[in-house]
């Protein structure tokens, strides 16, 4: 049954593309706004082969990766501390709650003031945007660790440090992964926004620039590249999850 539905979807997609192509050729669609699908695919492949799109993607990915990694390195340990020590959590709580409601894109002008249009600006924006999902999920993960688990570790006479690394970190890692997973699309979105608002390269800038120059097919090609990038990052993440947390993936599969 599953395969049948995949086929349905596949044919629908194919059918829509064909219909699009026909409509464009027949002159029903305004070529300045919606060029034929073939033109877009053409543009896409030439941009890929010429290295233009990969270059832009690389530029975007660099910033994204640094911002993402920085956020993980700072906020996961912070989250663990906040989850374990209630006093620490209460101390930082007000500050976190004050900063949380700020929609991430709105931070871009601030970053632009301080960092100009350089990479650091985008890195900072991504760092800020990923902070809350990563932090809050980590805190949640630590807090939701079953008491019984910790008590079991204690009866076996484990030292505090051993408990931290052998019980606490593995136990909250699924939830940490959730935070990291949620931050992935956020990272992508913000790299695109920050490039659209203030940049001279990157895939986000590429799409906007193409639109401004009325190179419409290119613009769509850029969007296609973004969709593929988003999909690829997702798959990569799932793969990493399966490598690092095979036990959890198996457990979830069972529950389904």
């Amino acid at each position: 049954m599953m395969r049948e539905s995949r086929l349905n979807g596949f044919f629908f997609l194919l059918g829509s593309l064909a219909a699009w192509e026909l409509a464009a050729q027949a002159g029903w669609l305004n070529p300045l706004i919606v060029p034929p699908a073939s033109k877009i695919l053409n543009s896409f492949s030439s941009l890929v082969w010429s290295g233009q799109i990969p270059l832009q993607i690389l530029a975007s990915l660099e910033r994204a990766a640094v911002g993402y990694a920085l956020a993980a390195v700072v906020f996961i340990p912070l989250g663990i501390l906040m989850g374990l020590y209630d006093a620490f959590h209460r101390g930082l709580e007000v500050i976190v709650e004050m900063l949380r409601p700020i929609p991430p894109p709105v931070v871009i002008p601030v970053a632009m003031l301080v960092f100009g249009l350089e990479d650091e600006m985008k890195i900072f924006v991504i760092f800020f945007s990923c902070a809350w999902p990563i932090l809050l999920n980590t805190v949640d993960g630590v807090r939701n660790i079953d008491r019984v688990l910790l008590q079991t570790a204690k009866t076996f006479g484990l030292s505090q440090q051993k408990i931290m690394w052998q019980v606490i970190v593995p136990a909250c890692s699924p939830q940490i992964m959730t935070g990291l997973r949620v931050s992935l699309p956020i990272t992508l979105i913000l790299v695109v926004i920050s490039e659209m608002v203030g940049s001279t390269d990157g895939i986000g800038y590429f799409v906007l620039d193409s639109q401004r120059r009325f190179k419409v097919a290119q613009m769509y090609a850029g969007m296609l590249a973004l969709a593929i990038l988003g999909y690829a990052l997702n798959q990569l993440f799932n793969l990493l999850c399966r490598i690092f947390l095979p036990w959890h993936v198996g457990m979830n599969k069972r529950m389904e």
């Binding site: 997609l13 709580e93 007000v94």
Partner: protein, 259 residues
């Protein structure tokens, strides 16, 4: 905040300390003052903007766009989601398309929208609608699909027609999922409105903040950010209140399941 009963002394203390650090730290160098003006200056600017009515105007513009985009997206997404969740056959056709469109960051649609609709209210609302549909759609489909067969059978054994089952069983049963989607799209809608205003707008809070940055009026910029944050917070609180009233049958259940 965690306990409304216990006032979080340490939290507020830390926060106040941070504010003090900001106030005096920023006065250390004139260059710093430009990028990160002292808190007092920001509040003075905020006051000025509020009194001149300037902020109110921009806030209203942004709010109207937000509400329009959010509600329109919700209506479309819930309707579509119920249809797709219920009619598996139809869903099988669209599933792949949805899978392909989802990973694309919705902000990438802004240039297309500018092409189609120029740089006005309709562009901004359109972009907001596009982005806000996804969480609600996906969650609604999920919710309708996960409805226990037994519930629908119960409706049937009582002789309910298909339409009655839709309204009296399926929608209420899927509502927790739908509400989750609506909550996520709340933040997304606000993000998209402010982003669209920044990238291709001429009015609204997003534009205002960027504009003030460009003219190096940093205090005004921060004041604008505070207002946007306040807007986001208020919208969230409002939503949570509505949610807890409508979903009180659910809240207890989740608490019990967690216990």
């Amino acid at each position: 905040m965690s306990n409304s009963k216990n006032f979080n002394w340490s939290g507020w203390l830390a926060f106040t300390l941070l504010l003090f650090l900001w106030e005096y730290g920023s006065r250390l160098s004139p260059k710093l003052q430009l990028y990160i003006p002292p808190i007092s200056q920001i509040f003075i600017a905020l006051g000025g903007l509020v009194f001149s009515g300037q902020l109110a105007v921009q806030l209203w513009i942004t709010l109207v766009r937000f509400v329009e985009g959010y509600l329109l997206a919700a209506a479309i997404a819930v309707t579509l989601g119920v249809i797709l969740g219920y009619l598996r056959f139809v869903h099988s056709f669209l599933e792949m398309l949805i899978e392909f469109l989802r990973p694309m960051p919705s902000v990438a649609i802004i240039p297309v929208a500018v092409l189609l609709l120029g740089i006005g209210d309709s562009m901004i609302v359109a972009v907001t609608v596009y982005a806000s549909i996804w969480p609600v759609l996906v969650n609604t489909i999920d919710g309708v699909r996960h409805i226990e067969r037994t519930l629908v059978d119960t409706g049937r054994t009582f002789g309910l027609s298909r339409r009655e089952i839709l309204w009296q069983v399926i929608l209420p049963a899927a509502s927790p999922y739908i509400v989750t989607g609506l909550r996520v799209s709340l933040s997304i809608a606000l993000i998209l409105v402010t982003t669209a205003e920044m990238i291709a707008g001429s009015k609204g809070l997003g534009f205002f903040i960027l504009d003030e940055e460009r003219s190096l009026h940093s205090s005004n910029m921060y004041a604008g950010i505070i207002v946007v944050a306040g807007l986001g917070y208020t919208l969230n609180r409002f939503f949570l209140t509505l949610e807890s009233r409508a979903m009180k049958w659910r809240h207890g259940m989740s608490a019990r399941e967690a216990a």
